[in-house]
């Protein structure tokens, strides 16, 4: 289980850690942990110990505290480890130390500026190296606001590979634009250049790289930030065979979008 430290233009990122179990019955871990920051250089995962945390401790790690090299891709991972890690790793550590299921053991990641902050309850599991992404984005705001799409990707493999992400209008399936997203990175895609209307619902499709997409809104005054992840198609239904339904929803949309 990893906790993201993110960086996007004009904002600093933070990751707030607390060593408190989310429930009192699932994972009784209490040993001191070594907090590592991990980041990919394209060939390996670099690891660097930041601190030790004991049960009950809290810590805030910010993008301003760590070297620029750690956030060259916009993303570093915070990892609590029971054992020392080598400085260079071929893949991400597999031992889940801060881990529970109901609820998932999370921490708080987000962004801040001089006025305010925005939080997201985060935990990241590595994604498959080859996977697709389809999502609808209902968070575009209007007025004195900057709208960005963020796509967070983490894979076990430290390679940094880029792939296409295409943007369509979900109503008439018209193609709007194409951009690139990368593995083991946080990619920021500005959206205001596309002059969306309040009634538009853009749909994003990446055939090669999966990820967690976020809508990020930044008030031009700086006084308000907005961050929330968009849902995968599986979230449109509950119970039953959701995975199969998700596959059908994606197939149905992708067939139409590819023709557009």
């Amino acid at each position: 289980m990893f906790f993201p430290l993110m960086k996007t233009p004009n904002l600093n990122g933070f990751c707030d850690l607390i060593y408190e179990r989310p429930n009192n019955w699932e994972n009784r871990t209490h040993k001191p942990v070594q907090i590592y920051i991990l980041w990919s250089n394209g060939k390996n995962w670099n690891s660097k110990k930041l601190m030790e945390m004991r049960l009950g401790d809290e810590a805030r790690i910010t993008s301003a505290d760590v070297g620029e090299e750690c956030l060259a891709t916009g993303l570093a991972l915070i990892y609590p480890s029971l054992k020392p890690l080598d400085p260079l790793l071929n893949s991400l550590p597999s031992k889940k130390v801060w881990y529970s299921e109901i609820p998932a053991w999370r921490n708080t990641s987000g962004f801040y500026n001089d006025f305010t902050q925005v939080s997201y309850q985060s935990d990241v599991e590595p994604l498959p190296s080859k996977a697709s992404l389809l999502t609808f984005h209902p968070f575009i705001q209007f007025g004195d606001v900057i709208n960005n799409l963020l796509v967070l990707n983490v894979t076990n493999d430290p390679k940094i590979q880029s792939g296409r992400i295409s943007m369509f209008n979900s109503f008439d399936k018209s193609f709007i634009a194409e951009s690139l997203i990368s593995t083991n990175s946080l990619t920021t895609i500005p959206l205001d250049v596309y002059n969306f209307k309040a009634t538009d619902l853009p749909v994003f499709y990446s055939p090669e790289i999966a990820g967690i997409p976020f809508g990020l809104g930044i008030a031009k005054s700086g006084k308000m930030l907005s961050l929330e992840h968009t849902h995968p198609p599986a979230s449109l239904v509950l119970h039953g065979n959701r995975r199969v339904i998700q596959g059908k929803i994606k197939k149905s949309w992708i067939e139409k979008l590819v023709k557009a």
Binding site: D16, L17, I18, E20, R21, P22, N23, N24, W25, E26, E58, R60, I102, P103, W105, T108, F115, T116, Q117, V118, S119, Y120, Q121, P138, F139, Q141, G143, D144, V145, N169, S170, F171, T199, D200, L201, G215, G217, I218, A219, S221, K223, M224, S226, E228, H229, H231, P233, S235, L236, V237, L238, H239, G240, N241, I245, K248, I249, S252, W253, K256
Partner: protein, 271 residues
């Protein structure tokens, strides 16, 4: 000897699992044609506005967001005691997204509404659902002090179903109370508001506990929520103070929506 210990540990874990999570987090609705919604908190005052991003969920599932046939969605409004105050039918226009200003619906009998659920038409018979149900888990947007930018948060409790015209709570609760620690360090100066909804068919008692400045856990006054009721628990954290908060209840997942208000701005996220 080691084998015996491993076996005993496994049995203990299974017993714990049965004791704490004997059932699923949420029940499946009783009718095949049911649709599901979360209970979305309303913030409505001089300081707050609530909006809802209404999407054509049926069309998104079916792979067609160009909805030529009329398509209406029902908003069910509840007060903080869980009483149904009224229903408003909204026709989805044939557009990609409709932003609903909740305050515009809160007239007459809906003035004291504290939460709402959004029920789409049943998809049963239109799309093969393989035992799944259409779910509105969508996004509420909250604006504070006319800052011009909303903070969004999605639903996360899959609270209620509309089954054959009746609202059915879907949340499960257990026999033994358990703690849920909000995985967030409260940092001052800030006011934190934790908004709970009760997705179960039972009354639920919640006892907040606070761990302030690394001293010790202190129990605060408990509160009780009726089925489909809601409650806001508020904590003020002073400058340079830090705290954790946990909630003891029989809810399987006592996860609130968290509002952090500080420096004339706010941050909203699910706990």
């Amino acid at each position: 000897m080691t084998d015996v210990l491993i076996k005993a540990t496994k049995i203990k874990r299974r017993a714990k699992l049965l004791l704490f999570i004997g059932k699923k987090l949420t029940k499946a609705p009783s009718a095949d044609s049911a649709v599901i919604s979360d209970l979305f908190p309303i913030r409505n005052s001089n300081l707050w506005k609530t909006e809802f991003e209404l999407l054509n969920v049926l069309g998104l599932i079916a792979g067609e967001n160009n909805q030529k046939e009329p398509y209406s969605v029902n908003f069910y409004f509840y007060d903080s005691t869980g009483e149904l105050l009224g229903i408003r039918e909204i026709e989805i226009k044939n557009i990609g997204r409709t932003t609903i200003k909740i305050v515009n619906l809160m007239e007459h009998e809906l003035k004291e509404a504290a939460t709402f659920a959004v029920f789409h038409p049943s998809i049963s018979g239109k799309v093969e659902m393989l035992g799944s149900y259409l779910a509105e888990r969508g996004y509420s947007g909250y604006e504070f002090q006319n800052l011009g930018v909303k903070g969004y948060v999605h639903g996360n409790l899959d609270a209620v179903a509309l089954s054959n015209g009746k609202v059915e709570p879907l949340g499960n609760s257990g026999l033994i109370p358990r703690y849920y620690t909000v995985q967030h360090c409260l940092r001052g100066p800030a006011k934190y508001e934790f908004v709970f909804t009760n997705p179960t068919s039972e009354k639920i008692k919640i006892t907040p506990n606070i761990f302030l400045n690394k001293k010790k856990w202190l129990a605060k006054k408990s509160f009780t929520m009726n089925s489909l009721g809601s409650h806001t628990f508020t904590v003020d954290i002073k400058e340079n103070e830090k705290a954790y908060v946990r909630f003891k209840s029989k809810l399987y997942l006592g996860r609130p929506v968290v509002f952090r208000i500080s420096n004339d701005s706010m941050d909203v996220f699910h706990g």
